[in-house]
């Protein structure tokens, strides 16, 4: 098996062909922020928070979808990268209604944690303040579109792990939104098994268990690679 040698943040590292920059960085304990990425799910490169500088490339490349190459030189931290990442977060916060202080996931939210760790303390673009609904028709869970960042983790876990494919994305561009079945109320979905995996993998308070008060919704995602591993073995 051939091995590539490349450089990440000045460190020489070895990688297998086909691996992504993100995977290799993580193997070597090099932190790259992510939001849409989740171990055990397929990669879509939607959020762009893992943008890195690759020498010779004219633009920033997402670490989660860029395959390593021999001799590659990657930078995961720079003033330019930090500016882009903060800008992406600002756009996410401005796009919908993220009110951390009164959110069920306050203190346990990936988006909030990223804003803190990446130093996003202001939003310089105007807030869109869209009028969005909450789908609380399901007996145990609810979906608050106000808090959704369209990372599609719910779509992927439902399709790839549970096999139900209840969730999907409807609409285009800024008008995109998560729908269950054919945009039916979640509680009326015929495909939903009620397993709650989507709730657990949602990085924000968009999907949550009913009955949770402010700051009470904690999530666990460790089951995703375990399940995939177990099911992979059985096949």
């Amino acid at each position: 098996m051939s091995v590539y040698t490349l450089e990440i943040d000045g460190r020489e590292v070895g990688a297998r062909p086909g691996e992504t920059i993100l995977a290799v960085a993580r193997e070597h304990q090099i932190e790259i922020p992510t939001l849409c990425s989740l171990e055990g799910l397929s990669t879509v490169g939607a959020c762009r928070l893992c943008l890195t500088e690759v020498e010779g490339a004219s633009r920033l490349l997402p670490a989660c979808t860029t395959a390593v190459a021999e001799g590659m030189r990657v930078r995961t931290q720079s003033e330019r990268i930090a500016r882009y990442r903060r800008g992406i977060l600002e756009l996410l916060f401005a796009e919908r209604n993220h009110q951390c202080a009164v959110c069920v996931s306050n203190g346990h939210c990936d988006l909030q944690a990223l804003a803190t760790s990446l130093g996003m303390d202001h939003v310089r673009v105007p807030y869109r303040d869209p009028l969005l609904s909450v789908d609380a028709s399901h007996e145990r869970f609810a979906l608050d579109h106000n808090r959704c960042v369209l990372c599609t983790r719910c779509v992927r876990v439902c399709d790839e792990i549970e096999g139900a494919h209840t969730w999907d994305v409807a609409g285009r561009g800024i008008g995109s939104w998560i729908v269950s079945d054919l945009a039916d109320p979640w509680g009326e979905s015929s495909s939903c098994t009620g397993c709650g995996k989507c709730v657990q993998v949602c990085p924000t308070g968009a999907l949550f268990e009913k009955g949770k008060a402010i700051g009470e919704m904690t999530k666990r995602t460790a089951f995703v690679p375990m399940l995939q591993h177990m099911r992979g073995r059985r096949r």
């Binding site: 202080a101 009164v102 069920v104 609904s133 009913k210 700051g215």
Partner: protein, 475 residues
């Protein structure tokens, strides 16, 4: 006709102004208290899951978030239609009393003590907490410690001083530990000593405030509030009692969930503060007062020894003084005593640390009403939800709102007595504000504590020209 504007009113929370209409003889004809700010919580909560309401509603106020948290959670309890565990009720009570304590301490020591202990006409540069510290360092230190104690109880029980979300529909989020209980119990004796010292100090000076007692919103009105089943002081639950100016009970044992049968709400064209009135008497004759003064007039007794001893002296004064809103200050001190005594009693309960603090359920009713006695008076949260548990309508009657008509009338009374339209005096301006401060409207801004809020008062002539202006600088 000329008009005087006091804009903004200082040492209150939020933004408000006062206008005085003067007749040709220079005497005050009319006075209005305008609350210009708009929060809109009744509207912005629509569509939210009701379990989120307490934490959301706590954001209404930074001074009394716990009262909103409690009233909102109680509305949530009503939607769940479950009996919440006794240990949770005890914890909610302690938390709420700690909030009463810190809010009253803020009102008395930070906002009003400079007027009360240094005098209404004292030099404005010194009429603040710092000036007061030079005169009464021990009292000021004690007052600050008292508020800190209340805030620290909240922080230890609920996670943070301001805007915790620990009280939830069905109970509270987590039980408390022995360390927190011991902290509560250890702090009570020192806090009681401070309040008693302040009470003695206030009573000693009361003789110097004859004019204020007579003219600070001193008029016959109804009083409304919750009392417990024995007619004792109650801030967490209970039944509504209404008394007339003679003290006769005209409403007794009334279920607060039926508040709309008692109270109607009027909108004033020049204020965002709703003006509730006693429905049976109509508008504006149905004027009533709520809050510490109302509660002490309503109750048969407080129910704790020190507070009851203080209540006896309070009631022993000239009967006419019972209508005086100036005595809200003393009532606040007595309630602080009560809060501390009750906290000690509750914290000593054998099952205080019981982990059974929450009942879980889905929405079992479409309508829920939660009522509590906030520091400033009866607080009502009223929600309607759909079958999925999403809020479809909210009605809030905030404690300060009940007093809107009384504050307006109080401003007029003070202005008529103290304001000479020909020459404006700073002390006069301060008294017009001080009558509002007596009610401690929950517009109370803590930066005022240093007396540094800017304030301008203008005298207009018939053509709307400014003929005199007095300005207090913010620096």
């Amino acid at each position: 006709m000329r008009r005087i504007e006091i804009d903004p009113v200082t040492r209150i929370e939020g933004h408000a102004r006062i206008t005085l209409q003067l007749g040709d003889d220079g005497r005050v004809r009319d006075a209005r208290f305008h609350v210009d700010q708009f929060r809109g919580f009744e509207k912005l909560a629509v569509g939210r899951p009701f379990h989120e309401m307490p934490g959301l509603m706590a954001r209404t106020c930074g001074i009394c978030p716990i009262s909103h948290l409690v009233a909102s959670a109680k509305a949530g309890d009503a939607l769940l239609a479950v009996a919440i565990p006794e240990p949770a009720i005890r914890l909610r009570r302690i938390l709420h009393l700690a909030q009463i304590l810190q809010s009253h301490a803020l009102s008395f020591f930070y906002l009003s003590a400079p007027d009360l202990l240094l005098g209404m006409d004292a030099d404005p540069a010194r009429r603040n907490l710092v000036g007061l510290y030079d005169e009464e360092p021990e009292l000021v230190r004690g007052g600050i410690a008292l508020r800190a104690f209340g805030q620290e109880i909240i922080a230890r029980m609920a996670g943070k001083r301001v805007h915790p979300a620990w009280v939830v529909p069905g109970g509270v989020a987590t039980p408390i530990d022995a360390e927190t209980r011991d902290f509560l119990l250890a702090g009570v004796p020192g806090a009681i000593a401070t309040v008693e010292q302040a009470l003695a100090s206030f009573r000693m000076r009361l003789v110097g405030f004859e004019a204020e007692i007579q003219h600070f919103a001193n008029f016959p009105s109804l009083f409304l509030g919750l009392v417990d089943t024995n007619g004792e002081l109650e801030h967490y639950e209970g039944r509504l009692r209404v008394i007339d100016p003679t003290g006769a009970r005209i409403v007794e044992g009334f279920d607060p969930a039926r508040y709309q049968e008692l109270i109607a709400e009027a909108d004033e064209p020049d204020s965002y503060l709703k003006a509730p009135y006693f429905r049976a008497f109509g508008f504006p004759d149905g004027i009533y007062r709520v809050g510490p003064l109302a509660r002490l007039r309503l109750v048969t007794r407080c129910g704790t020894p020190r507070a009851d001893a203080a209540l006896e002296i309070f009631r022993g004064r000239d009967a006419s003084a019972g209508q005086a809103s100036f005595l809200y200050h003393e009532a606040r001190l007595i309630e602080m005593l009560f809060a501390l005594e009750r906290i000690e009693e509750l914290a000593g309960h054998a099952e205080l640390l019981d982990p059974d603090v929450r009942a879980h359920a889905g929405p079992n009713r479409r309508e829920g009403i939660g009522v509590a006695e906030a520091p400033r008076g009866t607080l009502i949260h009223h929600y309607r939800i759909d079958a999925d548990g999403l809020v479809t309508a909210v009605n809030l009657i905030i404690a300060t709102g009940h007093n809107a008509l009384a504050m307006n009338r109080g401003v007029l009374q003070v202005a008529r007595h103290f304001v000479d339209g020909e020459r404006l005096q700073e002390g006069m301006l301060n008294r017009v504000e001080a009558v509002i401060r007596a009610f401690d409207p929950c517009l109370a801004c803590s930066t005022h504590a240093l007396g540094k809020m800017p304030l301008a008062i203008r005298l207009f002539d018939a053509q709307g020209r400014v003929v005199d202006e007095l300005r207090r600088s913010s620096r």
